[in-house]
């Protein structure tokens, strides 16, 4: 049997590799796992066990590690972004949403359940500063010069700003109802207000709401397209994803994405991958035709990371 396994391995090693189509990492928050899906065949290649409840991810500044936050597991999982191999586990309190500052110095971690915003040294994960905050710090966005980080507070309907140079809280102001996704865009902040049907444009200097843009019920998260021309907004309650003109924020098109659309990622072929929290799957939307195909995943898929240059399924399967 062992000999047979060895022979099979040898055959695999010399067999021609299928064309590299890339790998999608889908974080199944309700199944304590991460699904690795071949972006070409749309088949699940492997399922990596997490501890409890993984939600979001951040790519390390050097691109070498895909860092997944397991909030209820109090751990960061450092994965090889090419193969999904687990390299290291770091104990961190309640990592729900996380992001590296653009200058690569800090990793900011929102503890949604523990009401804290933690700033870690990106090199060694030592805690630099903890900001206790009420309540439910959810999503985050950085100023491009890394001077500030902005955090939505779902429990108190507010947006908070923190100075990463002086390591102090700047302001904390109401911006609507159950704010979730936040995006730095063109010198302004855009905040998706999940308790309403719109996002708000906010002045990053003081948190003042400048205007509202209607997108759909339960505006949850928003993303800038790779070419910078379109902002995509996922509307949780309406079950839609909305295209907005990035310059004017005027609506362009609405696509029906049922099953609680949440996070979103852009594939090089122009397709948009959207996690469906309540449908155990990912929707792959072709914006050119409006066609949607469904890719099965685990329970409550949340964060999604696409690595188009990941090796083929054959190499991944051998880990």
């Amino acid at each position: 049997m062992r000999l047979l396994s060895f022979l099979c391995l040898g055959i695999a090693a010399i067999a021609p590799m299928p064309a590299a189509a890339g790998v999608a990492f889908v974080i199944n928050s309700g199944a304590a796992s991460i699904s690795l899906i071949d972006m070409g065949t749309r088949k699940e290649l492997a399922r990596i066990p997490a501890l409890r409840e993984p939600h979001h991810w951040a790519l390390s500044p050097d691109g070498a590690s895909l860092v997944v936050g397991d909030s209820a597991g109090n751990a960061l999982l450092l994965l090889d972004p090419a193969t999904g191999a687990l390299r290291r586990r770091v104990t961190v309190a309640d990592p729900y949403q996380l992001g590296y500052s653009p200058d690569g110095k800090f990793l900011v971690v929102n503890g949604l359940a523990r009401n804290q915003v933690d700033v870690y040294d990106a090199r060694d994960f030592t805690l630099v500063k903890r900001f206790p905050i009420r309540s439910m710090p959810s999503h985050l966005a950085f100023a491009p010069d890394s001077s500030r980080v902005f955090v939505t507070l779902q429990g108190t309907d507010r947006l908070a700003a923190f100075d990463l140079k002086a390591m102090r809280a700047l302001w904390d102001v109401p911006v609507g109802s159950t704010p979730a996704g936040v995006l730095w865009h063109d010198g302004r902040l855009l905040v998706a207000d999940m308790g309403t049907d719109h996002l708000v444009e906010v002045d990053p200097a003081d948190g003042r709401v400048l205007r509202k843009v209607v997108t759909g019920k339960g505006a949850h998260n928003l993303f800038l397209s790779p070419d910078g021309r379109v902002i995509w907004v996922n509307n949780r309650v309406a079950g839609t994803t909305e295209e907005l003109d990035a310059k004017t924020l005027a609506p362009i098109r609405t696509f029906r994405i049922a099953g609680g659309p949440d996070d979103l990622a852009f594939a090089p072929d122009g397709k948009v991958w959207i996690t469906r929290r309540f449908a155990e799957s990912v929707a792959v939307l072709d914006p050119s035709t409006g066609a949607v195909t469904t890719v099965p995943a685990g329970r409550s898929p949340h964060g999604i990371f696409l690595n188009p240059s990941a090796p083929s399924a054959a190499r991944l399967a051998r880990g």
């Binding site: 109090n74 804290q116 339960g218 079950g239 449908a279």
Partner: protein, 320 residues
């Protein structure tokens, strides 16, 4: 194609709960509501599965036959409240709030709760084995919770409600006083803080464990045989625990799923078989009252017990 139960919960969340939360301005609870939807759907499946298996068993080999089964009706209500309805919602909300407050406080003091997998790294990557370890530990903790609920006079006053049923069927498993449930919940929370809680990634396994608990209350002459009785709690084994001679402090067979803890701690009794159930001397409301009357009777019993902590063992047995 995903798990049909998960998809049913997702449908419930998407088409009923989310629009409701949105209309009420409560969208911050959407993650909690999805957890509840999963709980409720799996609870409904548990009830359906238990019904499908236990009803034929109870008709095939009943221990007792009752011309009037009205007393069983209230146990049906207990089951639906506990597994599908209000209780999961309340406990989810309460548990979530308590968890936020407590874990936040601990994190402020620089302490992250340990977990079985972090203490024993060999368990990492073996989720089924990990879950089974958690299940065994939690079953052991539940054994002691149950045993202590018979030991302390005030606690027994509440737990007597579970035992007062003279027409014990598979519906009787969830027949508990709300305060008794709450104490169990707090104890579970304490164990969870010490070793973590297993992720809810094996709902079918949880469903199976709950099925064993319901089956153990069935009004059926079912034994698992000499070996089987020592591996899993059977209706025969658990009925001895509910027997009239085993009420109060002198009980036996406290285990819910595994009889090992009774064997280990000297409380196993494999000899008693198919005794009548109930609490001798318990007030009528406790066994034949409505849901609310039973709850109220439990509170009255608690009040009396707290006022008379020095009750003798013999009188404790009759308390209720």
């Amino acid at each position: 194609m995903g798990d049909p139960f998960d998809l049913a919960a997702g449908w419930l969340q998407e088409h009923a709960l989310l629009p409701l939360l949105y209309a009420l301005g409560l969208m911050r609870w959407e993650e909690v509501s999805y957890g509840w939807a999963l709980f409720a759907v799996y609870g409904a499946v548990q009830v359906a599965l238990t019904y499908a298996v236990c009803v034929p068993l109870e008709r095939w080999r009943p221990v007792e036959r009752w011309p009037d089964r009205r007393a069983v009706g209230v146990d049906v209500l207990y089951t639906l409240i506990s597994r599908v309805g209000v209780l999961p919602l309340v406990t989810f909300v309460l548990f979530y709030q308590a968890q936020v407050a407590l874990s936040g406080w601990m994190a402020d003091h620089g302490w992250v709760p340990p977990m079985l997998e972090t203490v024993f790294p060999a368990l990492l990557g073996r989720p089924v084995l990990t879950f089974l370890c958690y299940a065994a530990i939690l079953d052991c903790a539940d054994y002691w919770r149950h045993r202590l609920s018979h030991r302390f006079c005030w606690w027994w006053a509440l737990h007597a409600l579970h035992h007062a049923q003279r027409q014990m069927t598979f519906w009787s498993d969830d027949r508990n006083h709300l305060l008794d449930d709450l104490i169990g919940f707090l104890l579970f929370g304490a164990v969870a803080l010490a070793i973590g809680v297993p992720p809810l990634q094996f709902p079918l396994l949880v469903l199976l464990l709950r099925f064993v608990e319901s089956l153990s209350h069935a009004n059926a002459r079912i034994s698992f045989g000499w070996l089987g009785e020592r591996l899993l709690v059977s209706p025969r084994f658990h009925r001895a625990h509910h027997g009239v001679l085993a009420a109060g402090q002198r009980s036996c067979n406290y285990g819910a799923v595994l009889p090992w803890w009774d064997m280990l701690f000297g409380t196993a009794d494999f000899a008693r078989a198919y005794a009548p159930t109930g609490v001798p001397g318990a007030e009528a409301a406790l066994h034949s009252g409505t849901y609310l009357r039973q709850q109220w009777a439990g509170l009255r019993g608690l009040w009396r017990a707290l006022g008379r902590p020095a009750l003798t063992n013999a009188r404790r047995r009759g308390a209720g």
